[in-house]
Symmetry: C2
Subunit: 231 residues, 2 copies
DNA sequence: CGGGACATTGCTGTCAGACAACCAGACCGG
DNA sequence: CCGGTCTGGTTGTCTGACAGCAATGTCCCG
């Protein structure tokens, strides 16, 4: 990643685009501190105003958070969706998830390549072999994202990924329920088997069952789960 | 994703929030020119820097567009989604649309209020009575959005609205096909009747048929039509 | 009288400098 | 060892200035 001097377009736009790219490519990782505004200004050969405007865009887009006296930190590696900007009930998110992921499983079954299948099988295996809840959540996310990717429709991947991010805390509480891991493992296997068989209807049904059990469990714990976490 | 209390202390954030609200509530309509930065600065009793930073956020979010020498103009009345940032094939958009709108119709049938129903019926009637293609597209969008709203799940409304915006040009070409208006009118009526009857399955089926005919028309060129006998 | 070049005006884009608020860590005194 | 203070660094905000762009009015010349 070379930082090239500003030329034709508005300088602030160029800076913004480059900063976004630096963050999305992982040059600055999540929770990293960006260089100070003064340093960035020098790097880009522009004034601090331009840097501030670019950073303010990133702030608005949810990519970074700035704190007076501390610095600017990367908050997310990719542009956050509007889903993150509002607060929605778990039940509402669950409905959307069902609407997206059931057809996603169906299409994945119809279109998956051998490479998709291999990746999915590996993830299922790792899911069953991983004891730590936090790790399992990651694998679970990768699995559902992998299914969405197997649809060959990038929009499914995009939207399922967004949902995943919003549902992160729900997934965490869920994963701690006794015996949930084994149950989820079995459900995952059924989904993948249907995808492997190329049976769209079966894949859809298996995914639906999976989400049913997720919904049932998250309703039970919903009442006790409301804790206020301020920062 | 931790839930942050909305505790806005920085002046620029306050200004940004207020400007967003002014735009979303329609106080400034699309294509209106906002007051100049100097005027806004005076109105909000802050310096021009703060205004610029707020405006730059709006720019990044796609709400406004600034032109040197002309001013800042409202580009969109609501926050634009990431769907708009990429280019996707009509077939891909159609799949997502089916995934979202079929469950949307089902839920709408199960939850619609009397007010929803009244609004939807009015829209169907107006759709049938409107000859101009461009007007019909608007009504069509309102109709599908109205169905999404009747689900009582704001996320359906959000996502269906996003899709609508992306599909605008497709809708335009579609609406010019001979006889399409009558066909669409009939399909709409069938959907609304099922919603009125509270029959979720029938509403889903009617929506699916509607989207089938849309898909068939929009890809009748080279590709062979796929028969969808799922569900 | 008409039309085109020019001056004016208002706006955004950018720069430079300054100061306050704030934070973290170093330093120092008890 | 502990706690308060100092200090340097960072963001937040303000002020003033100037360049470049766009639209409009104005004036001179044909």
């Amino acid at each position: 990643m070379t930082i090239r001097p500003v030329q034709q377009r508005r300088a602030s736009e160029v800076v913004r685009a480059q900063l976004i790219e630096l963050i999305e490519t992982g040059h600055y990782a999540v929770n990293d501190r960006l260089p100070s505004e003064a340093e960035l200004a020098q790097s880009f050969s522009v004034s601090r105003s331009v840097i501030r405007e670019a950073l303010y865009s990133l702030n608005a887009l949810g990519l970074t958070r700035s704190h007076a006296g501390k610095g600017t930190f990367v908050a997310s590696a990719h542009l956050s969706s509007r889903l993150l900007m509002g607060r929605y009930l778990p039940a509402q998110l669950g409905e959307i998830r069902r609407a997206l992921e059931v057809p996603s499983a169906r299409l994945a079954a119809e279109r998956r390549t051998a490479a998709d299948l291999k990746k999915l099988r590996l993830l299922v295996q790792r899911f069953g072999a991983t004891p730590e809840a936090s790790k399992r959540i990651e694998i679970d996310a990768d699995l559902h994202l992998g299914i969405a990717a197997a649809t060959r429709n990038p929009l499914f991947e995009l939207l399922v990924g967004d949902l995943r991010q919003v549902l992160q805390d729900q997934a965490l509480t869920l994963s701690k329920i006794e015996g949930r891991a084994q149950q989820a493992d079995a459900e995952h296997q059924r989904i993948i088997e249907a995808i492997e068989a190329g049976d769209g209807a079966a894949a859809a049904a298996a995914m639906e069952a999976h989400l049913d059990s997720v919904a049932a469990l998250s309703e039970d714990g919903a009442s006790a789960r409301k804790s206020r976490r301020a920062r």
